[in-house]
């Protein structure tokens, strides 16, 4: 480690680390030698990337397939208005390099998948999981366990956040618990709303991502006690924090007593998002936004039902009759069984659920799902409408 040298500019830049007795130049050398892979450049990725680069982590890999959108800017403070439409990894790299030119940034403008995960992650010593969905959470976990690297984890929902360090190998050769010890299986799709449906307070990923960055730095330098084996919970609404113990599960399929997972699997299918779901949906008739426009302009009577929540309706609507998803059965008498009925939501998922329910339970045959929902309408039919 002593062969890691610093220039005069670097010594001055990192001087506030160097004068912390338990951190000092040894800690800074470890940071410079470290290679950290940050998966996801969203709300968590923003503070994570900014603090890891500012702290002097020598090599940072960034994986994200997405482009910057308006609705990101409420919390993804790495990006500016001018970045809208740009690949996130490109905008992130530019911003980070401007902040610290002494480090190396490697970008992967792609989805992190079972196919490319090993190739990407095998170049790194620590993974930081800032992703936003269950399939990728399990993928990141399994990659970290199979490659034997720690996975610094944070996750958020609305006003609530979780942070821990998974799969941490300590100095005595013991490995801490991983995600599958805590949650053997993901919730069924739809039970836990995503932030896109449930919302998230913009500061929350800033707080959790900063805590995550702190844990990454502790894991690399060995300073202090990191969160391995402990789950930190933060409720921003009531300002309550708790730290709970995470136990290893002997039935863990990756590294329990009888491991059954020895390679990466199909995580979409594992999370119930696979082909089965699509097959079920073949019974739901779909129309695109252009067809809806022509139907509405035609002579035939059409009933348009919006199954989103009232607060979503207040943001934007296309004059549909508002019957929120959970109230549909109470308002069943208001749904026509004679006319064509088009059901829509934000993106087309909830409306398909509603149609499936009405067809199975009540035998409706005149229901059509608006594919792409009001988002697609705002993209293709009326671009003056806001997207959220």
């Amino acid at each position: 480690m002593s062969d890691i040298k610093f220039s005069k500019e670097e010594l001055e830049r990192y001087s506030r680390h160097l004068i912390i007795p338990e951190f000092n130049i040894e800690g800074q050398r470890k940071l410079k030698a470290a290679r950290v892979l940050v998966i996801g450049t969203g709300g968590l990725g923003a503070p994570l990337l900014q603090y890891l680069s500012a702290a002097g982590v020598g090599t940072i890999g960034i994986v994200d397939f997405d482009v910057v959108e308006d609705s990101n800017l409420q919390r993804q403070v790495l990006f500016t208005q001018a970045d809208i439409g740009r690949p996130k990894v490109e905008a992130a790299k530019e911003r980070i390099e401007a902040q610290n030119p002494h480090i190396k940034i490697v970008t992967y403008n792609t989805t992190f998948t079972s196919e490319n995960a090993f190739e990407i992650a095998s170049n790194y010593d620590v993974i930081a999981d800032g992703t936003d969905n269950f399939p990728t959470r399990y993928l990141v976990n399994d990659v970290s366990v199979l490659l034997k690297v720690p996975n610094v984890y944070a996750s958020i929902f609305r006003f609530e956040g979780q942070v821990t360090v998974f799969n941490y190998g300590d100095a005595h050769g013991n490995t801490g618990p991983n995600y599958r010890d805590l949650f053997p299986e993901p919730p069924p799709p739809g039970l836990v709303p995503s932030c896109a449906e449930g919302g998230v307070i913009g500061v929350l990923p800033g707080i959790l991502g900063s805590l995550q960055a702190n844990e990454v730095i502790k894991v690399i330098t060995g300073v202090g006690d990191n969160l391995s084996g402990r789950l930190f919970l933060f409720d921003a609404l009531n300002f309550e924090t708790r730290t709970l113990k995470i136990e290893k599960d002997p039935d863990n399929p990756l590294n329990g007593k009888n491991p059954t997972i020895t390679e990466l699997i199909d995580y979409e299918q594992f999370c119930g998002l696979g082909i089965d779901k699509k097959e079920e949906r073949e019974d739901v008739k779909g129309i695109d936004v252009t067809t809806l426009k022509s139907w509405l302009e035609g002579a035939e009577d059409i009933q348009l039902i919006d199954v989103r929540e009232p607060y979503e309706y207040d943001i934007v609507n296309i004059n549909g009759q508002l019957i929120p998803q959970n109230d549909v059965l109470e308002h069943i008498d208001e749904i026509s069984s004679d006319y064509k009925v088009v059901v829509h939501c934000r993106s087309g998922k909830r409306s398909a659920d509603v149609i499936e329910l009405l067809q199975t339970k009540y035998g409706f045959t005149n229901l059509y799902n608006l594919e792409g929902g009001i988002l697609d309408w705002a993209d293709k039919i009326d671009t003056s409408l806001p997207k959220y």
Binding site: G40, G42, G43, L44, T131, D132, N133, F134, R137, S155, I156, F157, R158, F159, E160, Q162, L182, F183, P184, E185, P186, P187, P189, G190, L191, V192, P193, S194, C195, A196, E197, G198, V200, L231, L233, D235, L237, N238, R242, T243, L244, K245, I246, E247, D249, C271, L273, R346, S347, K349
Partner: protein, 102 residues
């Protein structure tokens, strides 16, 4: 020290954000069970919609949830039989993932 009678045990169950839609948005529910199992059963009686999401049809806890007494997973204690003392805190911890629409 005054010992409360067992039947007067009052524990608090903390409901996580994603499940509050089943508890009329209540974050904390007071129960009087003597064990974690009794307390969770009481919670289910108060909020039947919630109990459907806590347990599988066979009656075991869903794999995407954890129940903690204080800072310990009840699996590492005595599971549902774990005794509850006055002013104990029971937490239901859900898996949460973040932002993407699934």
């Amino acid at each position: 020290m005054i010992r409360h009678k067992k039947s007067n045990t009052m524990a608090t169950i903390i409901i996580p954000t994603p499940l509050r839609k089943f508890t009329d948005n209540k974050a904390k529910i007071i129960t009087s069970g003597n064990s974690v199992g009794e307390s969770i059963t009481q919670l289910g009686e108060l909020h039947p919609d919630l109990s459907k999401h806590l347990f599988k049809q066979c009656g075991t806890l869903q794999s995407f949830l954890k129940i903690y007494l204080g800072d310990r997973d009840i699996k590492s204690l005595e599971n549902e039989e774990t005794p509850v003392k006055d002013e104990d805190v029971i937490s239901i911890i859900p898996a949460i993932a973040g932002g993407k629409t699934l």
